[in-house]
Protein backbone atom coordinates (compact mmCIF):
# COMPACT_ATOMS: atom_id res chain seq x y z
CA UNK A 1 0.00 0.00 0.00
CA UNK A 2 2.89 2.35 0.81
CA UNK A 3 4.36 1.71 -2.63
CA UNK A 4 1.07 2.58 -4.30
CA UNK A 5 0.71 5.70 -2.13
CA UNK A 6 4.19 6.81 -3.27
CA UNK A 7 3.29 6.20 -6.92
CA UNK A 8 0.03 8.14 -6.56
CA UNK A 9 1.80 11.06 -4.83
CA UNK A 10 4.46 11.21 -7.56
CA UNK A 11 1.98 10.91 -10.45
CA UNK A 12 -0.29 13.52 -8.88
CA UNK A 13 2.68 15.84 -8.56
CA UNK A 14 3.45 15.47 -12.30
CA UNK A 15 -0.14 16.28 -13.27
CA UNK A 16 -0.12 19.28 -10.93
CA UNK A 17 3.17 20.52 -12.41
CA UNK A 18 1.73 20.28 -15.91
CA UNK A 19 -1.45 22.03 -14.84
CA UNK A 20 0.66 24.89 -13.49
CA UNK A 21 3.37 25.21 -16.13
CA UNK A 22 1.55 23.92 -19.25
CA UNK A 23 4.92 23.10 -20.75
CA UNK A 24 4.31 19.69 -22.27
CA UNK A 25 0.71 18.92 -23.23
CA UNK A 26 -0.04 22.04 -25.32
CA UNK A 27 3.17 21.42 -27.29
CA UNK A 28 2.19 17.77 -27.86
CA UNK A 29 -1.34 18.73 -28.98
CA UNK A 30 -0.11 21.41 -31.33
CA UNK A 31 2.52 19.11 -32.78
CA UNK A 32 0.25 16.13 -33.42
CA UNK A 33 -2.55 18.18 -34.98
CA UNK A 34 -0.22 20.21 -37.19
CA UNK A 35 1.60 17.04 -38.26
CA UNK A 36 -1.69 15.41 -39.28
CA UNK A 37 -2.64 18.55 -41.22
CA UNK A 38 0.69 18.48 -43.06
CA UNK A 39 0.31 14.76 -43.78
CA UNK A 40 -3.21 15.40 -45.07
CA UNK A 41 -1.87 17.73 -47.74
CA UNK A 42 1.38 15.82 -48.35
CA UNK A 43 -0.23 12.42 -48.97
CA UNK A 44 -1.24 11.88 -52.61
CA UNK A 45 -4.99 11.37 -53.04
CA UNK A 46 -4.46 7.87 -54.46
CA UNK A 47 -2.09 6.80 -51.67
CA UNK A 48 -4.68 4.66 -49.92
CA UNK A 49 -5.75 4.04 -46.34
CA UNK A 50 -2.74 1.93 -45.38
CA UNK A 51 -0.31 4.79 -45.97
CA UNK A 52 -2.47 7.14 -43.90
CA UNK A 53 -2.46 4.66 -41.01
CA UNK A 54 1.33 4.53 -41.12
CA UNK A 55 1.49 8.30 -40.97
CA UNK A 56 -0.76 8.37 -37.90
CA UNK A 57 1.69 6.11 -36.09
CA UNK A 58 4.62 8.27 -37.15
CA UNK A 59 2.81 11.33 -35.76
CA UNK A 60 1.99 9.54 -32.48
CA UNK A 61 5.55 8.33 -32.05
CA UNK A 62 7.11 11.75 -32.49
CA UNK A 63 4.47 13.33 -30.28
CA UNK A 64 5.45 10.87 -27.56
CA UNK A 65 9.08 11.77 -28.10
CA UNK A 66 8.27 15.46 -27.74
CA UNK A 67 6.61 14.79 -24.38
CA UNK A 68 9.42 12.53 -23.20
CA UNK A 69 12.11 15.12 -23.94
CA UNK A 70 10.40 17.30 -21.34
CA UNK A 71 9.50 14.51 -18.90
CA UNK A 72 12.38 15.09 -16.48
CA UNK A 73 12.89 18.84 -16.96
CA UNK A 74 11.28 19.65 -13.58
CA UNK A 75 13.48 17.08 -11.85
CA UNK A 76 16.62 18.35 -13.58
CA UNK A 77 16.02 21.90 -12.37
CA UNK A 78 17.23 22.31 -8.82
CA UNK A 79 18.43 18.66 -8.86
CA UNK A 80 15.08 17.41 -7.54
CA UNK A 81 15.83 13.90 -8.76
CA UNK A 82 18.62 13.69 -6.15
CA UNK A 83 16.09 14.54 -3.46
CA UNK A 84 13.73 11.81 -4.70
CA UNK A 85 16.53 9.27 -5.01
CA UNK A 86 17.56 9.91 -1.38
CA UNK A 87 14.02 9.19 -0.12
CA UNK A 88 13.51 5.77 1.46
CA UNK A 89 10.79 4.83 -1.03
CA UNK A 90 11.37 2.18 -3.69
CA UNK A 91 13.04 4.00 -6.57
CA UNK A 92 10.90 2.18 -9.11
CA UNK A 93 7.98 4.20 -7.68
CA UNK A 94 9.60 7.28 -9.25
CA UNK A 95 9.56 5.52 -12.63
CA UNK A 96 5.98 4.33 -12.22
CA UNK A 97 4.72 7.73 -11.05
CA UNK A 98 6.43 9.47 -13.95
CA UNK A 99 5.26 6.77 -16.37
CA UNK A 100 1.64 7.29 -15.33
CA UNK A 101 2.06 11.01 -15.99
CA UNK A 102 3.54 10.33 -19.44
CA UNK A 103 0.72 7.86 -20.19
CA UNK A 104 -1.87 10.48 -19.20
CA UNK A 105 -0.28 13.10 -21.50
CA UNK A 106 -0.17 10.61 -24.39
CA UNK A 107 -3.81 9.74 -23.81
CA UNK A 108 -4.79 13.41 -23.76
CA UNK A 109 -2.88 14.06 -27.00
CA UNK A 110 -4.58 11.09 -28.66
CA UNK A 111 -8.02 12.22 -27.56
CA UNK A 112 -7.44 15.03 -30.04
CA UNK A 113 -5.20 13.23 -32.54
CA UNK A 114 -7.42 10.22 -33.25
CA UNK A 115 -10.60 12.25 -34.00
CA UNK A 116 -8.42 14.60 -36.12
CA UNK A 117 -7.14 11.56 -38.02
CA UNK A 118 -10.71 10.39 -38.55
CA UNK A 119 -11.59 13.85 -39.85
CA UNK A 120 -8.65 14.19 -42.24
CA UNK A 121 -8.22 10.59 -43.43
CA UNK A 122 -10.65 7.78 -42.61
CA UNK A 123 -12.98 6.45 -39.89
CA UNK A 124 -11.31 4.84 -36.91
CA UNK A 125 -12.07 1.26 -35.88
CA UNK A 126 -11.92 -0.35 -32.44
CA UNK A 127 -8.71 -2.18 -33.37
CA UNK A 128 -6.85 1.10 -33.92
CA UNK A 129 -8.08 2.48 -30.58
CA UNK A 130 -7.01 -0.73 -28.81
CA UNK A 131 -3.62 -0.63 -30.54
CA UNK A 132 -3.08 3.00 -29.55
CA UNK A 133 -3.93 2.26 -25.91
CA UNK A 134 -1.58 -0.72 -25.78
CA UNK A 135 1.13 1.26 -27.57
CA UNK A 136 0.82 4.04 -24.98
CA UNK A 137 1.71 1.64 -22.19
CA UNK A 138 4.89 0.55 -23.98
CA UNK A 139 5.83 4.09 -25.03
CA UNK A 140 5.37 5.38 -21.48
CA UNK A 141 7.25 2.46 -19.90
CA UNK A 142 10.29 2.48 -22.19
CA UNK A 143 10.23 6.23 -22.77
CA UNK A 144 10.24 7.11 -19.06
CA UNK A 145 13.24 4.89 -18.41
CA UNK A 146 15.17 6.30 -21.37
CA UNK A 147 14.17 9.89 -20.58
CA UNK A 148 15.61 9.45 -17.07
CA UNK A 149 18.77 7.97 -18.59
CA UNK A 150 19.13 10.78 -21.14
CA UNK A 151 18.36 13.54 -18.62
CA UNK A 152 21.65 12.87 -16.83
CA UNK A 153 23.67 13.71 -19.95
CA UNK A 154 24.40 17.01 -21.63
CA UNK A 155 23.32 15.87 -25.12
CA UNK A 156 19.94 14.72 -23.83
CA UNK A 157 17.89 16.04 -26.79
CA UNK A 158 20.09 14.01 -29.13
CA UNK A 159 20.50 10.98 -26.91
CA UNK A 160 16.83 10.34 -26.19
CA UNK A 161 15.71 9.87 -29.84
CA UNK A 162 18.78 7.71 -30.50
CA UNK A 163 17.85 5.41 -27.62
CA UNK A 164 14.08 5.61 -27.90
CA UNK A 165 13.31 5.20 -31.62
CA UNK A 166 15.10 1.86 -32.19
CA UNK A 167 13.52 0.38 -29.06
CA UNK A 168 9.96 1.32 -30.04
CA UNK A 169 10.07 -0.01 -33.61
CA UNK A 170 8.17 -3.14 -32.42
CA UNK A 171 5.39 -0.80 -31.23
CA UNK A 172 5.14 0.70 -34.72
CA UNK A 173 5.09 -2.78 -36.27
CA UNK A 174 2.39 -3.94 -33.85
CA UNK A 175 0.37 -0.74 -34.06
CA UNK A 176 0.33 -0.51 -37.83
CA UNK A 177 -0.26 -4.25 -38.13
CA UNK A 178 -3.25 -4.17 -35.77
CA UNK A 179 -4.68 -1.14 -37.62
CA UNK A 180 -4.54 -2.50 -41.18
CA UNK A 181 -4.97 -6.29 -41.08
CA UNK A 182 -8.15 -8.34 -40.92
CA UNK A 183 -6.76 -10.26 -37.96
CA UNK A 184 -5.69 -7.58 -35.45
CA UNK A 185 -5.70 -9.99 -32.49
CA UNK A 186 -2.22 -11.30 -33.30
CA UNK A 187 -0.73 -7.81 -33.38
CA UNK A 188 -2.60 -6.66 -30.28
CA UNK A 189 -1.23 -9.69 -28.43
CA UNK A 190 2.23 -8.77 -29.68
CA UNK A 191 1.79 -5.22 -28.32
CA UNK A 192 0.56 -6.63 -25.00
CA UNK A 193 3.60 -8.90 -24.79
CA UNK A 194 5.94 -5.99 -25.61
CA UNK A 195 4.27 -3.91 -22.87
CA UNK A 196 4.64 -6.65 -20.29
CA UNK A 197 8.28 -7.44 -21.09
CA UNK A 198 9.47 -3.84 -21.33
CA UNK A 199 7.45 -2.63 -18.36
CA UNK A 200 9.05 -5.29 -16.17
CA UNK A 201 12.53 -4.55 -17.55
CA UNK A 202 12.11 -0.80 -17.08
CA UNK A 203 10.65 -1.21 -13.59
CA UNK A 204 13.52 -3.45 -12.52
CA UNK A 205 16.31 -1.39 -14.08
CA UNK A 206 15.21 2.14 -13.11
CA UNK A 207 17.15 2.01 -9.84
CA UNK A 208 20.41 1.54 -11.77
CA UNK A 209 19.58 4.38 -14.14
CA UNK A 210 19.14 7.01 -11.43
CA UNK A 211 22.14 5.97 -9.38
CA UNK A 212 25.78 5.78 -10.41
Amino acid sequence: MTYLADVVALARKDLLLELRSRDTLPAMLLFVVSTLVVFHFALPSDAGDTAATGLLWVALLFTALLGLVRAFVAEREERVLDGLVLAPCDRSAIWLGKGIGVFAFLLAAELVAVPAYALFFQPVGWELVAAVLLADVGLAAVGTLLAAMASAGRARELLLPLLFLPLVIPIVVGGVGASVTDDPGRYLAFLGLYDAVFAILSWASFEYVVTE
Binding site: A9, L16, V85, L86, C89
Partner: protein
Protein backbone atom coordinates in the same frame (compact mmCIF):
# COMPACT_ATOMS: atom_id res chain seq x y z
CA UNK B 1 29.59 6.73 11.33
CA UNK B 2 31.63 7.84 8.31
CA UNK B 3 34.93 6.24 7.42
CA UNK B 4 36.93 7.26 4.35
CA UNK B 5 40.15 5.59 3.29
CA UNK B 6 42.21 6.78 0.34
CA UNK B 7 38.99 8.22 -1.07
CA UNK B 8 39.19 9.61 -4.59
CA UNK B 9 36.75 10.80 -7.20
CA UNK B 10 37.36 11.69 -10.83
CA UNK B 11 35.07 13.33 -13.39
CA UNK B 12 36.40 12.13 -16.70
CA UNK B 13 40.10 12.98 -16.73
CA UNK B 14 39.70 15.55 -13.96
CA UNK B 15 40.77 14.34 -10.54
CA UNK B 16 38.56 16.20 -8.04
CA UNK B 17 39.33 14.31 -4.83
CA UNK B 18 42.38 12.19 -4.07
CA UNK B 19 43.70 10.22 -1.12
CA UNK B 20 41.25 11.43 1.53
CA UNK B 21 41.32 9.73 4.92
CA UNK B 22 38.97 10.75 7.69
CA UNK B 23 36.60 9.38 10.33
CA UNK B 24 33.50 10.95 11.79
CA UNK B 25 32.07 9.21 14.84
CA UNK B 26 28.33 9.05 15.49
CA UNK B 27 27.36 12.46 16.84
CA UNK B 28 30.54 13.98 15.38
CA UNK B 29 30.70 17.25 13.50
CA UNK B 30 33.01 17.52 10.51
CA UNK B 31 33.78 20.88 8.95
CA UNK B 32 35.05 20.69 5.38
CA UNK B 33 36.81 23.73 4.00
CA UNK B 34 38.62 24.51 0.79
CA UNK B 35 38.63 26.87 -2.18
CA UNK B 36 36.11 26.70 -5.03
CA UNK B 37 36.55 23.51 -7.05
CA UNK B 38 38.41 21.70 -4.28
CA UNK B 39 35.73 18.99 -4.11
CA UNK B 40 33.64 19.95 -1.06
CA UNK B 41 30.32 19.42 -2.84
CA UNK B 42 31.60 16.23 -4.45
CA UNK B 43 32.56 14.89 -1.02
CA UNK B 44 29.05 15.59 0.31
CA UNK B 45 27.47 13.93 -2.73
CA UNK B 46 29.69 10.89 -2.08
CA UNK B 47 28.59 10.81 1.57
CA UNK B 48 24.94 11.04 0.46
CA UNK B 49 25.44 8.09 -1.89
CA UNK B 50 24.61 10.16 -4.97
CA UNK B 51 28.09 9.53 -6.35
CA UNK B 52 30.34 6.51 -5.98
CA UNK B 53 34.07 6.80 -5.32
CA UNK B 54 36.47 6.27 -8.19
CA UNK B 55 39.12 5.03 -5.77
CA UNK B 56 39.35 4.03 -2.13
CA UNK B 57 36.58 3.28 0.32
CA UNK B 58 33.78 5.26 1.90
CA UNK B 59 31.59 3.72 4.56
CA UNK B 60 28.54 5.70 5.67
CA UNK B 61 26.44 4.07 8.37
CA UNK B 62 23.13 5.66 7.42
CA UNK B 63 20.24 4.45 5.31
CA UNK B 64 18.75 6.62 2.59
CA UNK B 65 15.90 7.89 4.75
CA UNK B 66 18.29 8.85 7.54
CA UNK B 67 20.19 11.46 5.53
CA UNK B 68 19.28 15.14 5.40
CA UNK B 69 21.05 16.80 2.50
CA UNK B 70 21.32 20.49 1.67
CA UNK B 71 23.01 21.07 -1.67
CA UNK B 72 23.73 24.20 -3.70
CA UNK B 73 20.37 23.61 -5.35
CA UNK B 74 17.20 23.45 -3.26
CA UNK B 75 16.08 19.97 -4.50
CA UNK B 76 12.47 21.18 -4.66
CA UNK B 77 10.06 21.76 -7.55
CA UNK B 78 9.91 25.38 -8.64
CA UNK B 79 6.31 25.10 -9.88
CA UNK B 80 4.99 23.68 -6.60
CA UNK B 81 4.37 25.68 -3.46
CA UNK B 82 6.52 25.32 -0.35
CA UNK B 83 3.71 23.36 1.30
CA UNK B 84 3.23 21.01 -1.68
CA UNK B 85 6.96 20.32 -1.89
CA UNK B 86 7.26 19.51 1.80
CA UNK B 87 4.10 17.42 1.70
CA UNK B 88 5.50 15.33 -1.18
CA UNK B 89 8.81 14.82 0.62
CA UNK B 90 6.97 14.11 3.87
CA UNK B 91 5.02 11.32 2.20
CA UNK B 92 8.07 9.83 0.50
CA UNK B 93 10.13 10.03 3.73
CA UNK B 94 7.27 8.51 5.78
CA UNK B 95 7.24 11.42 8.22
CA UNK B 96 4.84 10.72 11.10
CA UNK B 97 2.39 13.55 11.89
CA UNK B 98 3.50 15.11 8.63
CA UNK B 99 1.30 18.19 8.64
CA UNK B 100 2.24 19.22 12.15
CA UNK B 101 5.95 18.73 11.44
CA UNK B 102 5.73 20.72 8.18
CA UNK B 103 3.83 23.52 9.90
CA UNK B 104 6.37 23.65 12.72
CA UNK B 105 9.34 23.85 10.29
CA UNK B 106 7.69 26.49 8.10
CA UNK B 107 6.98 28.59 11.19
CA UNK B 108 10.49 28.14 12.50
CA UNK B 109 12.13 29.14 9.22
CA UNK B 110 9.79 32.07 8.65
CA UNK B 111 8.06 30.60 5.61
CA UNK B 112 4.57 30.07 7.01
CA UNK B 113 3.17 33.18 5.34
CA UNK B 114 4.74 32.15 2.02
CA UNK B 115 3.67 28.49 2.28
CA UNK B 116 1.21 28.74 -0.63
CA UNK B 117 3.61 30.61 -2.91
CA UNK B 118 5.35 28.81 -5.74
CA UNK B 119 9.01 28.19 -5.00
CA UNK B 120 9.92 29.74 -8.35
CA UNK B 121 8.88 33.12 -6.92
CA UNK B 122 11.10 32.70 -3.83
CA UNK B 123 14.25 34.73 -3.25
CA UNK B 124 17.55 32.83 -2.93
CA UNK B 125 17.36 33.11 0.85
CA UNK B 126 13.77 31.79 1.00
CA UNK B 127 14.69 28.87 -1.25
CA UNK B 128 17.64 28.07 1.02
CA UNK B 129 15.38 28.17 4.09
CA UNK B 130 12.97 25.80 2.34
CA UNK B 131 15.89 23.51 1.47
CA UNK B 132 16.75 23.41 5.18
CA UNK B 133 13.11 22.59 6.05
CA UNK B 134 13.21 19.76 3.49
CA UNK B 135 16.47 18.40 4.86
CA UNK B 136 15.24 18.47 8.48
CA UNK B 137 11.70 17.25 7.76
CA UNK B 138 12.35 13.58 8.53
CA UNK B 139 14.65 14.27 11.51
CA UNK B 140 17.68 12.66 9.87
CA UNK B 141 20.53 11.00 11.75
CA UNK B 142 23.11 12.35 9.31
CA UNK B 143 23.07 15.97 8.16
CA UNK B 144 25.07 16.88 5.06
CA UNK B 145 25.08 20.65 4.60
CA UNK B 146 26.76 22.26 1.63
CA UNK B 147 27.21 25.98 2.31
CA UNK B 148 24.11 26.15 4.56
CA UNK B 149 24.54 29.92 5.12
CA UNK B 150 24.54 30.66 1.40
CA UNK B 151 22.05 33.41 0.49
CA UNK B 152 20.79 33.84 4.04
CA UNK B 153 20.39 37.14 5.86
CA UNK B 154 21.49 37.58 9.48
CA UNK B 155 18.22 36.34 11.03
CA UNK B 156 18.11 33.25 8.84
CA UNK B 157 21.79 32.57 9.50
CA UNK B 158 21.00 32.59 13.21
CA UNK B 159 18.29 30.02 12.52
CA UNK B 160 20.93 27.77 10.95
CA UNK B 161 23.14 28.36 14.00
CA UNK B 162 20.19 27.16 16.09
CA UNK B 163 19.79 24.04 13.95
CA UNK B 164 23.49 23.26 14.25
CA UNK B 165 23.44 23.87 18.01
CA UNK B 166 20.62 21.32 18.35
CA UNK B 167 22.31 18.87 16.01
CA UNK B 168 25.79 19.07 17.57
CA UNK B 169 26.33 15.98 19.68
CA UNK B 170 22.94 14.47 18.78
CA UNK B 171 23.33 13.95 15.05
CA UNK B 172 26.28 13.36 12.80
CA UNK B 173 26.90 16.52 10.81
CA UNK B 174 29.14 17.28 7.84
CA UNK B 175 29.27 20.94 6.83
CA UNK B 176 31.10 22.26 3.80
CA UNK B 177 31.72 25.96 4.16
CA UNK B 178 33.86 28.91 3.17
CA UNK B 179 33.31 30.37 6.62
CA UNK B 180 34.74 27.84 9.11
CA UNK B 181 34.81 30.43 11.91
CA UNK B 182 31.03 30.40 12.01
CA UNK B 183 30.82 26.66 12.79
CA UNK B 184 34.14 26.28 14.63
CA UNK B 185 32.47 25.99 18.04
CA UNK B 186 30.49 22.89 16.89
CA UNK B 187 33.32 21.11 15.09
CA UNK B 188 34.81 17.88 16.36
CA UNK B 189 36.75 17.21 13.15
CA UNK B 190 38.08 19.38 10.36
CA UNK B 191 39.09 18.56 6.83
CA UNK B 192 40.81 21.07 4.57
CA UNK B 193 40.68 20.27 0.87
CA UNK B 194 43.29 21.76 -1.43
Amino acid sequence: MIVARDLGRDFGSKRVLRGLDFDVARGGFLVVTGPNGSGKSTLLSLCAGLLVPTRGELLVEAERGEIGYVAHESLVYRELTALENLDLYGRLYRVPERRERIGMLLERFGLWEARRQRVGSFSRGMAQRLALCRALLHEPELLLLDEPYSGLDRDASELVDGVLTEAAGNKTVVVATHDPQRVRSFATEALALA
